[in-house]
Structures are given as structure tokens and as C-alpha cells.
Symmetry: C2
Subunit: 286 residues, 2 copies
């Protein structure tokens, strides 16, 4: 497995792989790999002749008050995991390679970025789209793999690729969960044991909401009230948002009468966690 | 020469050309081709084995009050000119092919877009960068050709390509002028004969400004005053802006003590025209 830090070398490696007729697959990550990432890597490995994992903690998607400095960094372990899964190449550029200082250019997706995490983290998705756009331009992958845990990110990247005619196939993969339902996340390792236990409330609350909708509840306000109760039962929880939105365009729905996404962001102690669930309400007889 | 309207066919054509080992060159235009465009096409033809001209009047770079509807469209003549210059392929998509309706994604270059035309036409460069980004993603050209008449556009595209790691070589080409110095522009054909005569004042004024700087004048206010006088001598002129700016970052300079760009936009009758000139002031002995 090669570890590459330079864009120019990266381009050469991709060209060499293409020269051999190999399909190029990319799993973009910020490192601190866990089983969620590894499920993406395995799928990439299965589907592509040349499997690339990028590891880059992208500064442009963090606001100054956010956890860029504390974001977990475990590069050596990440390399070992990638090697064990037979990854062909890890791209791990320095910040100075990706942003040499004079950058003024941005890729943005409006509307879809206004809701959910975009509302509480303005500029977040601009940073994500810009760095993913850059990675696509550097690697020109045939396929790129993203987790459904970051549902809004997946929806926005999908929109970006269609709107801007980027020739890559975006593959969304199911959220991988711990035994108690907590969605795997690099940030989970910043929870202390008590907080870790409380963090299970996110998935529990989402399941509660999904049950209510499946039982016929069509008023999002009522569903959100019940979800809120599950979360606030945990002493160190602090709700950022709980929203029930259109599953394509992500705007909050007023009545639940079609497939929706329940999405939430909750601070548990010092750590902001997100999770979501797709729900199909029961068909109304007309 | 092939004329292609569909993105999918375009991609196949490019792939076929690449398969033959040909270098792909792109001249992006909004049609109504004139000698200025043709100079770009000739250079592209000289340097690239597969020469593509795109013709698309891009709606996203026009504000509602601007001249999108009146922008000259001469598709049949354009095709003949391209054929005469041995262009391999003209890409002339319909609006519905480029913008199928649900587009939310934008490419933007900040700072450089704040000055000159960006100040009077907000969103203009966002539209330009987005459509050029799309064309680059569709055609993945090795080289792309832009005229220096649209100096700010050239600088911004250059910045975009560097910042976003787009693998294309941007080639800037000199402005082509009429006998009386008027920069060639598709919009010139919307001038009536009297206005056409007055339009020569743009280049005359720029030359006047360049002479003053070459003669040692380092105060931009004084230079702009003399340029203004040349323009306002024409009865149907209306100045949008006259600026003396840093030639890289395009911000207005307070003292002229290095290479600068004099740029202006002037309405002559109903037509907004732009032009510019690069000036190196005389070296000061220290």
C-alpha cells in the first residue's frame, strides 16, 4: 500500500491505474477510522480495481469555535486498518498541499445547505463541497463512497455532482452502529464512559419517532416532542436540532404524508453527535 | 466537423479523441463569433489535436435586467466559421441540457470577484465560474483558451483552476481590435453607426491613461480624471467604472508604483462595453 502526500504523485498514480484499465474508487475521510469507514472501504475494495482512501482533516469545514484542534487524529492506526483491507493507496496531504494559502474559490450548494447542520454550522457544507470537489479533481474517481450517517452531506454531494456534471458515481452506504445503536463516529472517542452510555439516546429517540410515524402520527410537532423527551432524559444532553424533513430537498415538512428523514444533532457533554433515520409513513387509503 | 448538443455524446467524443492520444483544447464562447474568438480558435487548433468550441449563452451570468434576450445569436454563421478553421467539434447545448432545472450548486471565487465588473454585476462571475466549471467537467480539456479583453474573467478562471485543482492549462490570449482600436466584442453589433464611432473612445482613453503612467504620473485619481474626460466627450457614453487595479488581485491601488491594469466599463447608447490595458510604470531611481 502506498501512502502519498503530494497531489502531483497522486495524479501519476491514478493515471497509472487507469492505464491498467482499473476502475478508481475513493473513500474520502478525515481519518480516525472506525467500522463505519471500514464498511465504505470494503465496498470500494469490492467494486473497484484501484481503491483509494483519503485522510485529511479539512480546516475549511470547521468554524473558529469548533473542534478542529481536538478532532481525533490517529494516522498510524488508520494506515494499518487500510493496509489490512488491501487498500491500494492512502492520500494523506498536509494542509499546505491542499490549501497553499491564497485560496479564494468555493463550491457551494444552496437550499439543501440551509437546513439541519447547515443552519447551525453556516459555511460547513461550503467547506465540505470545496474539499470534496478538490479531491474529485485531483483523483477523478469513477466511484466515491459516503456514509448515510452524514445524510445531508451525502444529499449535498449528490446534488453537487449532478449540477456541476462531475463524472463520478456517488455511492451512499448504510450507517454502521454500536451494539446499543449509537452511530459510529470518530467523535465518539471524545466521550467519557458516562457520556458514551447517554449517547445511545440519539438512536433510541429516532426509533421512537419512526415508530410514531409508522403508527400513523402525521404531525411533526408531536413526533418531535416525543423525540425531545427521550433526549432530554439524559443529563448531559443538549439539543442542537431535531427536524423532520423532505428526504430529497431537506426542507422541514408541515405534515408527514410521504417518505421523510428524521435528523438530529445533539451535544453529549463536549461532543456534538448527529444521526438520522428514513421513515415511510403508512399508506393512507383514499 | 461534428455539432453536438448532448453532454453524453460530448463525453464519448472526448473519450474517443483521448483514446487516439490527442490533446483536447477548448474555446468556451457564447457564440456570435468574431475575430477575437477566432484568434483563440486558431491558437487552440495549432496547439491541440482535438479542438472543441463551445457555444452557449449562459443564463446564470446575466441578471434579470441585463441583455440575455438581446445577446446576439448567430449560430449558423458561427458553425461556418468554426468549420473554416478546421474545428473538430462544436458543443452547442440547449439551456435544458446545461441547467435541467433543479440546479443549486455554484462555483465562486471571492475577493477577485468583488471589484470591477463584479461590483456592478454581482453574481456575474458566479455564473461564469459555474458554467466554465461545468464545461471543464464535461470535456476535461487539457487546455482552455480565454481572451484578455475579459481580463477579470481570465484572472478569476485562473484562480479557480489553481484553487480547486482542476487539471486544465488556462491560456490567455491578446485582445483583438478593430482598426480604430475598439476591442472586438459580440455586443459591438448592437451599436448603431454613430455609437460605433463613439465606442472607439474606450481604447483611446486607455491609451491616454497608459501614456500618463508611462510619463511618471503615479496618482490614480489624476489618471482616472483624464480617462474620464476622453470618455465623457462622447455624447452617448455613460461610465460604469474606470479603475486602476493590482494586476493579480484586482484591488484598486492607491499609488501606481508597479504593474497595474487600467480597466473600464462604459455604456455606449444601449450597449455596455469593457476594455483594459496593462501598464508598467517607469522604474523609479532610488
Amino acid at each position: 500500500m502506498n501512502i502519498v502526500e503530494k497531489i502531483a504523485i497522486m495524479r501519476e498514480s491514478i493515471q497509472a491505474a487507469r492505464g491498467k484499465g482499473l476502475l478508481v474508487g475513493l473513500v474520502p475521510t478525515m481519518g480516525a477510522l472506525h467500522e463505519g469507514h471500514l464498511s465504505l472501504v470494503r465496498r470500494c475494495r469490492d467494486e473497484c480495481g484501484f481503491a483509494v482512501v483519503s485522510i485529511f482533516v479539512n480546516p475549511t469545514q470547521f468554524a473558529p469555535n469548533e473542534d478542529f484542534d481536538n478532532y481525533p487524529r490517529t494516522l498510524d492506526e488508520d494506515y494499518l486498518m487500510c493496509k489490512a483491507l488491501d487498500v491500494d493507496l492512502v492520500f494523506a496531504p498536509l494542509r499546505s498541499e491542499m490549501y497553499p494559502g491564497s485560496g479564494h474559490s468555493w463550491v457551494e450548494v444552496d437550499k439543501l445547505s440551509d437546513y439541519l447542520c447547515g443552519a447551525s454550522r453556516p459555511h460547513f457544507f461550503r467547506g465540505v463541497c470545496t474539499v470534496v470537489g478538490k479531491l474529485f479533481n485531483i483523483m477523478t474517481p469513477d466511484k466515491a463512497y459516503f456514509g448515510q450517517k452524514d445524510y445531508q452531506q451525502l444529499a449535498i454531494i449528490h446534488r453537487m455532482v449532478i449540477d456541476l456534471n462531475i463524472p463520478v458515481d456517488i455511492v451512499g452506504c448504510p450507517t454502521v452502529r454500536e451494539q446499543d445503536g449509537l452511530a459510529m463516529s470518530s467523535r465518539n472517542r471524545n466521550l467519557d464512559p458516562g457520556q458514551r452510555e447517554q449517547a445511545a439516546c440519539l438512536h433510541e429517540a429516532l426509533r421512537k419517532g419512526a415508530e410514531l410515524i409508522a403508527g400513523g402520527q402525521s404531525d411533526p410537532v408531536r413526533v418531535i416532542a416525543d423525540i425531545t423527551a427521550v433526549i432530554t432524559a439524559q443529563p448531559e444532553s443538549h439539543i442542537d436540532y431535531i427536524s423532520i424533513v423532505d428526504k430529497e430537498l431537506l426542507y422541514p415538512v408541515e405534515v408527514i404524508n410521504g417518505p421523510v428523514l428524521i435528523a438530529l444533532a445533539v451535544q453529549i457533554g463536549p461532543v456534538r453527535l448527529i444521526d438520522n433515520i428514513l421513515v415511510d409513513p403508512p399508506q393512507k387509503s383514499s
